[in-house]
Symmetry: C2
Subunit: 329 residues, 2 copies
């Protein structure tokens, strides 16, 4: 019998999903970033719930205000990746006994700040006692069925693009968790990318409007994992010929003698969108939304990183609970 | 600065809610059992999220299957109390490292069983590593705005009624947690009431259809607390002249020399509905739904239990996290 640590987060989700009877006519299949129900012809209620756990999701130096804000932002990001604006959120907070009234106020203020930044509201909450701080959020939004961007529509020939650059959060985690060093200004920028993540809501909504996006995902588990998820859901492969390495991540890699490819490809806690776009619409789409083209969808189902003349396999790894930990090593 | 233990669960929720900006035109006020958004004229999306935490919500002898089922049922019960059928649920599961694959399967099966019992489906889930087992569920349903039963509509003269009898769960918790004893058959029945709670969905839906219910709540925090919540939200008082003590709870009280009033009034983990009904409609309503009349709503804002000629105050206490614990004493 395998332990949960051997199984890892994705396998655990898979095992749980396998026990569930499927609702007939599910507008979004099991395992996508969000779930949905059709409540009117062509109109969907879109839902997501995800929890932030102190031990694994709150790095040192992240305040409770920032943690609560992040718990909201990570749910808003999942809806944004599907092209859906979050209207409202609920929260369930697990509170350890050593917190005090001011800590609770900070959690409340952080939840509110995260929601209001994206035009959403937190409508209510519940609390329980817990051994570790837990901030679970549920996010809700409404969309038209034909606007929804799933993971499953990528086709050979589509262009792969992202809304920003990668590696800064991995670098930030190395600073906050492992104590790696960098010049002050750089250190601040990189730490900030972990402590104050931003959801690409505006971009997600604009992309959904174009009708040209064939698949979309948020990159919170890292660029490599996100590519693998789309590849699996769409039954395709990728040829990535331009790795979108963040400027600061590259500087940090130089200072610390690290591999910038590793930092940007196999990180996590990044909330960029990764999308595939029909080639014919690429020009129109990239005029409206600031995107970085990184490669192409291929019929062949392997994932390849092309660096000059070298071709390297993109491995299915990155940020994963149970296998990675935020505990200081 | 007060610790969370001094504050207690309700004060913590109050502090969090105080930090939140109010969404304009909220169909359900802060602090009711559920939240809602109006997505079409007169049509509401109704939401709830609540988490079950191992340390405080899973008593000894409750299996993981039962715990997962309970996490679903307690959310369905909150929607049922508002007259809303749960269509779909999501879950976020916090998994400690000592669980194995079979444990995860049991959690998945329990989630599914709880949902299917009430015609709902679990649409998806997420997991994180956690120190203690956490099963957070979010429930969604749809209703007409004029069908929603809030906490705030009780008026002097209304009849107070419940969907069943109280005290069995308190007795069951005393058996499971404190090791109190009782004859085998009685012990089984009482333990079962804790391990396999049932949501009063059918009753909630029927009650909402009558249009005669002025306020409603589920009694998961105990009968006394539920009365106090309605009293506060509706700005009324109660005269309770018939305490609905469960037959088995009374037997258990006899055997263990306990006060059956205490057991039934100040318990918790019970999922009966407590409603107030317009007097003129009482006969019609009680013909359609099996209800136990327990008293009357009063203009005077105190809560009184009438026992023969004696009048006792009903205190605002019962099951509350941080103040009560399931840890074996």
């Amino acid at each position: 019998m395998k332990s949960v640590q051997e199984l890892g987060e994705r396998k655990i989700i898979e095992i749980i999903l396998k026990q569930l009877e499927k609702m007939p006519h599910m507008p979004v299949p099991f395992g996508d970033d969000v779930s949905a129900i059709e409540f009117d012809k062509g109109k969907l209620g879109v839902f997501k719930t995800d929890m932030l756990v102190g031990k694994t999701d709150i790095p040192p130096k992240m305040s409770l205000w920032q943690a609560a804000r992040k718990a909201v932002v990570m749910n808003i990001s999942d809806l944004a990746a599907k092209g859906v604006k979050t209207t409202a959120l609920l929260t369930a907070v697990g509170v350890p006994r050593d917190l005090n009234q001011e800590n609770i106020e900070q959690i409340g203020k952080g939840l509110n700040a995260g929601a209001r930044e994206y035009g959403a509201y937190v409508l209510g909450g519940d609390t329980s006692e817990a051994s570790d701080i837990i901030i679970s959020c549920a996010a809700f939004g409404i969309t038209r069925k034909d606007r929804l961007m799933l993971r499953s529509g990528a086709r050979a020939g589509d262009i792969v693009a992202v809304t920003g650059f990668f590696g800064n959060s991995s670098a930030g985690l190395k600073i906050l968790v492992q104590g790696l060093s960098a010049p002050l200004k750089l250190r601040k920028t990189l730490a900030e990318s972990v402590l104050m993540p931003h959801a690409r809501l505006k971009e997600g909504l604009s992309l959904a409007q174009t009708g040209a996006v064939t698949a979309s995902i948020d990159s919170s588990d890292g660029l490599a994992w996100s590519l693998h998820e789309i590849a699996r859901a769409s039954q395709v492969g990728f040829m990535i010929d331009r790795l979108p390495i963040g400027h600061e991540a590259r500087q940090f890699a130089n200072v610390n003698n690290l591999d910038p490819t590793e930092l940007s490809l196999y990180g996590g806690e990044e909330y960029e969108l990764m999308v595939t776009v029909k080639q014919a619409f690429w020009e129109k789409v990239s005029r409206n939304v600031s995107l970085v083209r990184i490669g192409r969808v291929t019929r062949k189902k392997n994932l390849v990183l092309k660096m000059g003349k070298r071709e390297l396999p993109i491995e299915p790894r990155g940020w994963e609970h149970f296998k990675t930990s935020l505990q200081k090593a």
